[in-house]
C-alpha cells in the first residue's frame, strides 16, 4: 500500500503524455480476479468468477443485458456494494493494491482520487442546488494533497472535455446545462484528480448520437493521454466496439466471453455473444433483426448447468447438467462447453431484407402545415407528412426535435396545434375527447416507457381485453379467446393473461402494450420510441414482432425513434426532424444512404457502428 501511495506524482499539471505511476508487474492498471458477490454472505451469488484486467490507457467494455450483474461489478471496482450485497471472494487490484482489503478511511482516499465514477444519468448525479464550479472544486478539495491549485485544474479539465471554462459557465446550475454538457461536467469531475481507473456506467445512454460521439471521443482521448484504465459498462455493443480494446460479455452474473474487441466482434464464439451481435441494428442494412428470446435467470434461480441453456439453440443435455468452466480458445476466454464448435455453427446466411414495398393508394394519414406549441413555446412548425397505406414511416430526430409532440398531436393527446390533419379522408379533431369512437379505435398508440404505460393494478388479460370491450363490443365470453390470440402475435403465451405488469420484464411489458394496440384492430399504429427503454437484444425482438404483426395485419405505422440504425429494419420511408422542422423526407433507403442534407449526413456519421 505504501508503494501505491508513492506512485502519486505531486505536480500533475504537465500536458501531453503523462504516465500515472507504475502499473503492476504484468503491466495492468486494474486486475480483477475471481470476484464473487453474494446477497448476504450465505445467499445466492449475484456475480461469480469475474476476472479481467485493464492496461493503462485502455478501455474495457463490460457488456450484457440489464440484470447481468455488470453494474454490480462496476460498483465493486470502487469498493462499493449495494445494500445487502457483499463481496465473498476474489480480489480487485488497482496498481497492485487490493481495494477490497482497504479500511473505510483509506478507501475514501482512493475513491474520487484514484478511482472515479461516471454515472448513467448526470442530471441525477449532479447536485441540482449547487453551481457546477463549486461541485468541480469540491471534488478537488476532498483530495487536496494530491492536486495543485484547484482553479487552474478546474479550467484545465473543463478545456479537456471541450467545455467553456469561463466564470459564467462555472456559475451555472446543472439544470441550466444540456444533458450532454452535464455528462461532460461529470466526466471533467471524474478526470479532475487524474485517477488511475475510471468506471463509466452507461454514460451515453440518454444522449443523442452526436453528443454520444463527442463523449466517446473525449473518454478515448483522455484515457490515452493520462494512461487511465477505463471500464465502460454498456448494453450497447456498437458503442463498446467503437471504444474498447478489450471486451467482457456478462450473462447471469458470469463473464461468458472475454478477449480483444476485434476478435470478439469479428468472430464471437459464445452463443450469447453471437445473439447480442445479431441484435444490433445496422444503419446501412435493412436486414431483419434477430433478438435473443427469453430472459436471464435471476440470482437464486440459476440451475446447476449453464445459465444460458433456456435461450440457447445449441444446448445439449450436458449443458444442463454441468456448469461450464472458462476455457482459453482462439485468443479469448469462453464459458461454453461447445465453444469449439460454435464458430462453425454460425455459417447461416444473413437474414433477408425486412421491409417490402407497400401497395399504392391514398394516404391513411396526412398532416399538412401542422405547427404546435406548449404555451408560448413553439415546438413544431409547418410539418407536412403522409403515411401511405400498409407502409411504415420512420420519424427520426434527436431529443427536443418535437417528434413526440407530433405523435401526441396525431393521437389526440396534445391539442395546441394549428394546420390540418386528415385520417382516411376525414379531418381529425384536436384532442381525443372530440374524436368519434371509431377514430379512436383506428389510431392506436404504443408509448415509450412500458413501465408506466400499463396499469399496475390490472392483469394482462384485463389490459388486453379493454379495447375489445370498448371499441369492438366483443361479448365477454369471446374476449379471452381474442386476447390469447393477440398475445400469441407478440409471442406471449396464454399463461400471461393472469399476470400483473410488475411480474413482467421490460420487453414483455412492451409486447403487452403492443398487443393492447393491435387487439383494437387499428389501421394506423403510432409507436413513440417503443424500444428506447429496452436492451438491444430485447429491442431486436420487439421491433421484429412489431414489423411482422404490422405486415400481417396490413397496418400503416408511424415509427418514431432517435435511433437511425433501426430505421431500415422497420420502415420504408424516413422523415428527419430537427428543432420542429422537417429537414428531409423520402424513401428510407435514399434518405439514409444518400442524405440530401448535411444534418442527416452528420447524424449518420455519428451513429455508432459495430467494428469488427
Amino acid at each position: 500500500m505504501s508503494a501505491a501511495k508513492g506512485s502519486i506524482p505531486g505536480a500533475p499539471e504537465a500536458q501531453g503524455q503523462q504516465r500515472r505511476g507504475p502499473a503492476d508487474r504484468h503491466g495492468f492498471r486494474l486486475e480483477v480476479r475471481d470476484l464473487e458477490i453474494r446477497n448476504r454472505r450465505d445467499g445466492p451469488a449475484v456475480v461469480s468468477g469475474i476476472s479481467f484486467a485493464v492496461r493503462p490507457g485502455d478501455v474495457l467494455g463490460l457488456v450484457g443485458e440489464s440484470g447481468s450483474g455488470k453494474t454490480t461489478v462496476a460498483l465493486a471496482l470502487l469498493g462499493h456494494t449495494r445494500r445487502g450485497l457483499s463481496v465473498s471472494a476474489g480480489e480487485i487490484r488497482l496498481d497492485g493494491m487490493d481495494l477490497l482489503r482497504l479500511r473505510p478511511a483509506a478507501l475514501r482516499q482512493v475513491r474520487g482520487a484514484r478511482v472515479s465514477y461516471v454515472p448513467q444519468d448526470p442530471s441525477a448525479a449532479l447536485n441540482p442546488a449547487l453551481r457546477i464550479g463549486y461541485q468541480l472544486r469540491e471534488a478537488l478539495r476532498s483530495h487536496a494533497r494530491i492536486t495543485g491549485d484547484p482553479e487552474t485544474r478546474v479550467r484545465e479539465v473543463l478545456g479537456e472535455v471541450r467545455l467553456d471554462a469561463s466564470p459564467g459557465m462555472l456559475r451555472r446550475y446543472p439544470h441550466q446545462l444540456s444533458g450532454g454538457q452535464q455528462q461532460r461536467v461529470a466526466l471533467a469531475m471524474a478526470f479532475s484528480c487524474r485517477p488511475s481507473l475510471i468506471v463509466l456506467d452507461e454514460p451515453t445512454t440518454g444522449l443523442d448520437v452526436s453528443t454520444q460521439r463527442h463523449i466517446l471521443d473525449t473518454v478515448r482521448r483522455l484515457c490515452r493521454r493520462y494512461g487511465v484504465a477505463a471500464v465502460y459498462v454498456s448494453h450497447d455493443l456498437a458503442v463498446v466496439s467503437e471504444l474498447a480494446a478489450e471486451v467482457a460479455v456478462m450473462y447471469a452474473g458470469r463473464v461468458v466471453e472475454a478477449g480483444p474487441a476485434a476478435l470478439l466482434f469479428g468472430r464471437p464464439l459464445h452463443p450469447y455473444t453471437q445473439g447480442l451481435l445479431a441484435s444490433v441494428p445496422v444503419p446501412e442494412g435493412g436486414r431483419r433483426l434477430t433478438g435473443i428470446p427469453g430472459q436471464q435467470p435471476p440470482p437464486g434461480h440459476r440451475g446447476p448447468g449453464c445459465a444460458f441453456v433456456p435461450r440457447c439453440a445449441l444446448a445439449l443435455d450436458e449443458c444442463r447438467a454441468r456448469a461450464p468452466e472458462p476455457v482459453p480458445l482462439a485468443g479469448r476466454t469462453v464459458l461454453c462447453l461447445r465453444a469449439a464448435e460454435t464458430g462453425t455453427a454460425r455459417a447461416e446466411p444473413r437474414p433477408a431484407a425486412a421491409v417490402t414495398d407497400p401497395p399504392a393508394g391514398a394516404a391513411v394519414l396526412s398532416v399538412r402545415g401542422v405547427s404546435a406549441s406548449y404555451g408560448p413555446v413553439r415546438v413544431l412548425s409547418g410539418i407536412d407528412l403522409e403515411v401511405p397505406p400498409q407502409a411504415c414511416v420512420a420519424l427520426v430526430g434527436e431529443s427536443g426535435s418535437g417528434k413526440t409532440t407530433l405523435a401526441r398531436c396525431i393521437v389526440g393527446l396534445h391539442r395546441d396545434w394549428t394546420g390540418e390533419m386528415t385520417f382516411q379522408g376525414a379531418r381529425l379533431a384536436r384532442g381525443a375527447r372530440h374524436r368519434p369512437v371509431p377514430v379512436l379505435q383506428q389510431i392506436q398508440c404504443v408509448f415509450q416507457n412500458p413501465y408506466t404505460s400499463l396499469n399496475p393494478r390490472k392483469t394482462v388479460g384485463q389490459i388486453v381485453a379493454e379495447p375489445l370491450r370498448r371499441f369492438l363490443h366483443v361479448p365477454r365470453g369471446e374476449q379471452s379467446e381474442r386476447a390469447v390470440s393477440v398475445l400469441g402475435d407478440v409471442a406471449l403465451g396464454p399463461r400471461y393473461l393472469s399476470r400483473y405488469p410488475d411480474q413482467l420484464s421490460g420487453g414483455e411489458r412492451q409486447r403487452v402494450a403492443i398487443a393492447r394496440a393491435l387487439v383494437a384492430e387499428p389501421s394506423l399504429l403510432v409507436c413513440d420510441e417503443v424500444t428506447s427503454a429496452l436492451d438491444v437484444s430485447v429491442q431486436a425482438v420487439v421491433v421484429e414482432l412489431l414489423r411482422a404483426a404490422a405486415a400481417r395485419r396490413h397496418l400503416a405505422m408511424l415509427f418514431i425513434t432517435h435511433n437511425l440504425a433501426l430505421v431500415r429494419s422497420v420502415a420504408q420511408f424516413a422523415v428527419v426532424l430537427r428543432q420542429g422542422e422537417i429537414v428531409e423526407a423520402g424513401p428510407a433507403e435514399q434518405v439514409l444512404a444518400d442524405p440530401g442534407s448535411d444534418y442527416t449526413a452528420q447524424l449518420m456519421a455519428d451513429v455508432p457502428r459495430l467494428r469488427s
Binding site: 375527447r433 379512436l440 408509448f447
Partner: protein
C-alpha cells in the same frame, strides 16, 4: 430485465390486503392491532356482557369499587363498569362513519383536482385552504352550535372537517399517477374522466387511502370524545366515554375509575389505530423490509432507473 422471478408469484389484486398482512407481522403493527382490537372488542361485546343497566341508579354517588360494583359508581350512583362497557360502540360507530365520509369527500375532491387540473383544481384547492384555516374542533363546534347537537350532524361536521386534509394528500398522490401513460391510454380509449379516475387512478391510491383512513379514524375518535366532553354528544342519560369524563371529573378524588377507565380506553384506541396505521404505511413503502430482501429486489428490478432515461 426486471426478471419476475419464477416461483415468486405475488397476488397483487388486493395490494392493500398484502400491506395489511405484512404490517401486522411487524412488532409495531401487531401492538397496534392488539390495542385497537381490544378496545373495539370492549365496545362491541360490552353491551351484551354489562352486568347492569347503564341507566339504573343503583348505589351512592361516587361509591368506591366493591365486589358488587367492580369500578364503583358515577356521580348519580350508576355502575361505572356497565357504563364503560356500554358507552363505546356509538362513539366507534360515529368515528368510523365520520372517517368514511371524510375520506370519500376528500378523495373525490383531491383526485378530481389533480386529474382535471386547471379551473376545477384552483376552485377545489382554494376552498380546501379556506376550510383548513379553521381549527377542526372550532369548525365542528361552530356548525353544532348553529344547528344544534344532533348525532348525524356531529358525524357530518367531523367528516367534513377531515375532507380538506385528505384532499391535499390525495391530490399530490394523484398528480404523480395521472401523468403516467396508462392514464393517457385510457383517455385514448374514450373513457370519461369520472371513469378514468375511478377505474384507472383510484386502484393505485390504495396505500395513501389506507394511511389516511387510519389517521383520520384516530382524529375522529379524539374529536368525538372531545365534543362529548364539551357536551355535544349523545343526550345525557345515555353512556358515552367522552361524556363520562366530563360528568365524573368532580368526583375524581372519590372514585377516580369513573374518569380513568373511559380516558384509558380512548387513549388505547387512538394509540392502537395510530401504530397500526404507521405500520401499514411503512409496509407499503417497504421501509420494514429486511435489508437483504430490499437489496435483492433492487438488484432484480433496475426498472425505475431505466424508465426515465430518455424521457
Amino acid at each position: 430485465m426486471t426478471a419476475a422471478a419464477p416461483g415468486t408469484e405475488r397476488i397483487r389484486r388486493h395490494q392493500w390486503l398484502a400491506s395489511m398482512g405484512s404490517a401486522v407481522r411487524t412488532p409495531r403493527g401487531a401492538a397496534g392491532l392488539g390495542l385497537a382490537g381490544f378496545v373495539v372488542a370492549v365496545a362491541v361485546i360490552g353491551p351484551q356482557v354489562a352486568p347492569d343497566s347503564p341507566g339504573a341508579l343503583l348505589t351512592l354517588p361516587f361509591a368506591k369499587p366493591s365486589g358488587r360494583f367492580l369500578l364503583g359508581a358515577d356521580f348519580l350512583g350508576r355502575d361505572v363498569l356497565s357504563r364503560v362497557l356500554d358507552g363505546g360502540w356509538l362513539l366507534l360507530l360515529m368515528a368510523v362513519a365520520a372517517t368514511v365520509l371524510g375520506i370519500a369527500a376528500g378523495a373525490a375532491a383531491g383526485i378530481s383536482a389533480a386529474y382535471l387540473r386547471g379551473r376545477p383544481d384552483g376552485l377545489i384547492m382554494r376552498t380546501v385552504d379556506v376550510i383548513l384555516a379553521f381549527p377542526q374542533l372550532v369548525f365542528a363546534l361552530l356548525l353544532l352550535s348553529i344547528l344544534g347537537p344532533r348525532l348525524w350532524l356531529i358525524v357530518l361536521a367531523v367528516g367534513l372537517t377531515h375532507a380538506p386534509a385528505v384532499a391535499r394528500v390525495l391530490r399530490s398522490a394523484t398528480l404523480d399517477i395521472s401523468e403516467r401513460d396508462f392514464v393517457k391510454v385510457a383517455e385514448l380509449q374514450g373513457m370519461r374522466p369520472a371513469a378514468v379516475m375511478a377505474k384507472e387512478i383510484l386502484p393505485s391510491l390504495s396505500t395513501p387511502l389506507m394511511v389516511e383512513a387510519g389517521l383520520r379514524l384516530t382524529y375522529s375518535i379524539i374529536i368525538m370524545a372531545g365534543l362529548a366532553f364539551l357536551g355535544f354528544g349523545q343526550p345525557p342519560p345515555a353512556p358515552s366515554w367522552g361524556t363520562m369524563i366530563n360528568e365524573n371529573r368532580a368526583g375524581l378524588a372519590l372514585n377516580p375509575w369513573a374518569v380513568i377507565m373511559p380516558a384509558l380506553l380512548i387513549a388505547l384506541l387512538t394509540v392502537g389505530t395510530n401504530l397500526l396505521t404507521d405500520a401499514v404505511g411503512r409496509a407499503a413503502l417497504g421501509v420494514d423490509r429486511r435489508p437483504g430482501e430490499a437489496a435483492l429486489a433492487d438488484a432484480l428490478d433496475p426498472a425505475p432507473n431505466r424508465a426515465g432515461n430518455r424521457a
